[in-house]
Every structure is written in C-alpha cells, then in structure tokens.
Amino acid sequence: MERRALIYEFTRAFFRERGFHEIETPIRVPAVAPEAQIVPFESENWFLSTSPELYMKRLLAAGYDRLFQISRCFRKGERGRWHNQEFTMLEWYQTGGDYLQMVQDTAELVLTIASKLGIGSIINYRSQRIDLALPWPKTTVRNAFLCAAGWDPITRPDPLRFDIDLVTKVIPSFAPDRPTVLLDYPAAMASLARLKPNEPTVSERAEIFIGGLELANAYSELRDAQEQERRFQTEIEQIEREQHHKIAMPWRFLQAVAHLPSCSGIALGMDRLVMLLCNADSIDEVVTFTMDTA
C-alpha cells in the first residue's frame, strides 16, 4: 500500500513537471462510450464510468491542452487475476503528439517511477527479469499475428479469432524480458483512434504489454465526428443484438469531437503498474478490498 501511494506521488510529479493539469470528471454519467465488450454498471438510468475518456476529450475541445486524471472505472463481468470490476485508470491527453508519443511518454513515466522507487530499469516480475530500458520494442499487429498465429488480421478481419489468438498465441510470443508495444490495430478495432492517413485499413492505436500484462492503450485521437458516430452506432447495434438492450449515444461527446484539436491520449491500468512494480501475482495483492472481500 505504501508503494502504491508512492507510485501515485511520483506519477503526479511527473505530469506536473511536464505542464499537465490534474482534473476530476464525473464517475456517474448519462452515457458511456458504446463498446460491445465493455458492459457498464447501471445507476438508475445513468451509468458508472468505464473510462474518463469522453469527458477528458470534451475538455480538450474546450481549449485545455494538457490533462491527466487518475480515476476509478467500473466494468461489469471483469474479474480474474488481473481484473477487478472496479479498478483505477491513469489517463492523459495532450494537443498535438500522436500514439507513438504517448508510448514514449509511458516508457519515460514507468522508468522515472521505477528509478524513484530505487528499483532501477530492471524489474523482477514473477521470477522474470524484465529490462525496461528505452527504446521499448515495437511490432505491428500484422507482423505479430503473422509470426505467432499465421494469419493477417488486417487483410482478413476476424474479431473472434483475433481475441483468442491474441491471448493464446500472440502475447505468449512476446519476449518475456522486455516490454512489447503492439502497433497499428485493424481499422475495425480502432475504437476512438483515427485511421492511419495513408493506410486506412489500420488505425493509430497502440497497446503496451509488460510481463504478460496489458498495461496501456494509446490513440492518435479521432476528430471526425461522423466517423465516431458511425463506429458507436455499429457497437450499439451489436449490443442490442447480443445483449438485448438499448444503449445511449453520447451526443454531448460527439458534439465536442467536431471541435477537437489534433491530439493524442492514453489509458494506463494503474493497478497493473503497481502489480509490476511490487511483483504482485494478482490484482488482489495491490487493492485494499476487491469485489469479493468488500
């Protein structure tokens, strides 16, 4: 717990030094970003926030240019060694920059914290020595899947096979002693990221994995409100088909997207970061009370 508190302190110092403002946005919200695989908790017709992203982007659209937030997020049905339905996310956004910049910032953040904790750039996680030195190894989704699973999800999209192979073949194929950055997700999995300008079959979305844990998800943010609305609509329809209930379109957010400056952002699992720096096997070791013990 002490180390977790220090990690928070060092995180705040890191962002303050770079001119980022810490903010708080609503936890109980009228609409969440429609995503078929993320199920929000309901609170009397409203919802518990699954990510502060929509609000932080509304602030960027309103003129703020460097923001960060450490906030509690809630996702139904997510419980396991690395998941608790209630968890903590660190998200930061800036005008300018792109998803690669966000990855670079993350690497510097993690190294800074490790150094201040006295750990240095080499951590020991579950008996595996992991070297966090820059630059962090990067690979594209296309290459990683071709090498580890034998197919290309960019030219032959297959969402179910993607999820299974990612977990059973691709992530296990990453070098265990270094972080891995997975870049350029297929366009259909762009979520709230923009498509690559010269290559619209891929999106500027990156995910960072360390020690087998998914640590962070970075975007070059999408600024096309119609495209965002179209993507949300696809999700809403899928949710209606599979889960049989209607989910709200986040209109206020979409209005703000039209005014978004060129920007980038990232969401990092704070509990996961603490797990890595405390050599914790399970999220239960870094959280005071999980959903089972609360």
């Binding site: 995503e35 695989q37 993320i38 049905g77 997510e78 419980r79 396991g80 060694r81 690395w82 998941h83 969402p159 179910l160 993607f162 999820d163 299974i164 990612l166 977990v167 059973t168 992530i171 997700y185 999995m189 979520s191 995910e207 994995f209 998914e214 998800n217 599979e242």
Partner: protein
C-alpha cells in the same frame, strides 16, 4: 452454465467425462472479448486438459455430489467402502486407491465424489491417526545426534518420526504430505 460462472473447483462435463476445474484464468486484452483459459483434471483417470472459451459460451456442468464413506477392508485387488447413510458398498480397484492405501485402516472415513451412481475416487481426511507397529529403540548415543528415525505404521507405511516415539504409540499424520504431525497417545 455460462462460462463466466465457472470457477476453480467447478465440475464440468465434456464428451461425457467429468472434469474438475483446477485453474481458471480470465483474460480480456484491449477491449476485446473475454477469454477464459481453463486447466481441467479428468476425474476418472486424473489426466489433464487445457481448454479455451470466449465469453458468452456455455459449458455443461457435471453434477457431482460428495458422500461420506467408511473403509471396511480390502481383498488385495479391491478396496471396499460403505456409504455411512445408505450402507451401500462400493468397490475401488487398488490402482484407483494408489498411495492412499497407506492411510486407510478399518473405519477410516473418506469423502467420495460421485457422478450419479459412479464413484470418482476417494478423498482422504487431512489427518489420520495410526499406531506405530515397529520402531527401533534408540540408545542414548542416537538421541544426541539423530532427530528422526524410521517407524512402520499399522498400515505397513514407513514414516520418519521423532526419536521419542515408540511402538504402540498413536501418531497423527498429514495425508497431504505423508508426514508426522504429532503424537496423540503413548502406550503405557
């Protein structure tokens, strides 16, 4: 049952065979579907099986109930147990019993998981108390240096015991490790 409800210890039926879920891992990278990776143990032959399911899939639950049974005797090939409530008797091949035979004496109570009428194995109590049949007496010289000596129990099992344990003593054994825990009573 829905795959999301499966936990460590759940019993699943796959192709007619009951399995115990030894481990269940929940993975959900990058806003994708939840993936469940299960390590299963075949309850009939103890072999292992790894399976992967995604969220929304259903799996069949094996209906396994536990019954208390008492060990009666063995005839060399089969071990006979009796359900303490129904008095029905069940035979287990000596292979199925395996090393557990070292801790069975007439009257020992065990737990038997059953699927319908089919017993799946026996589960020993954590501790059993057995009498020491043979144990070398130690001389003064031995007790200064050695801390344990060999003893043979009434079941024929050889175990390490502290040197003060003598023939006729009853000792408590941890069946999980097959080791001495403490002396329960001593022959006067």
């Amino acid at each position: 049952m829905d795959i999301g409800d499966v936990r460590k210890g759940s019993k699943l039926l796959i192709n007619g065979i009951p399995y115990n879920v030894d481990e269940a891992e929940f993975m959900k990278p990058g806003k994708g579907r939840a993936i469940y990776r299960l390590k299963l143990r075949n309850l009939l032959d103890d072999s292992t099986l790894d399976i992967t399911h995604h969220s929304g899939e259903k799996v069949e639950e094996a209906h396994v109930s536990n019954y208390e049974m008492q060990y009666l005797y063995n005839d060399g090939e089969h071990y006979v147990f009796m359900n303490t409530e129904t008095f029905e008797q069940y035979l287990f091949d000596k292979e199925k019993i395996g090393d557990k035979k070292h801790f069975l004496k007439e009257g020992t109570l065990v737990t038997v998981p059953m699927m319908g009428e089919k017993p799946l194995g026996i589960s020993l109590p954590t501790f059993v108390e057995l009498e020491v049949r043979e144990s070398a007496t130690t001389t003064k010289a031995d007790t200064i240096t050695a801390q344990t000596k060999a003893a043979v129990l009434e079941t024929g099992y050889t175990i390490g015991v502290p040197t003060f344990v003598k023939e006729g003593d009853i000792i408590k054994i941890d069946t999980r490790t097959g080791t001495y825990v403490e002396r329960v009573s001593t022959k006067k």
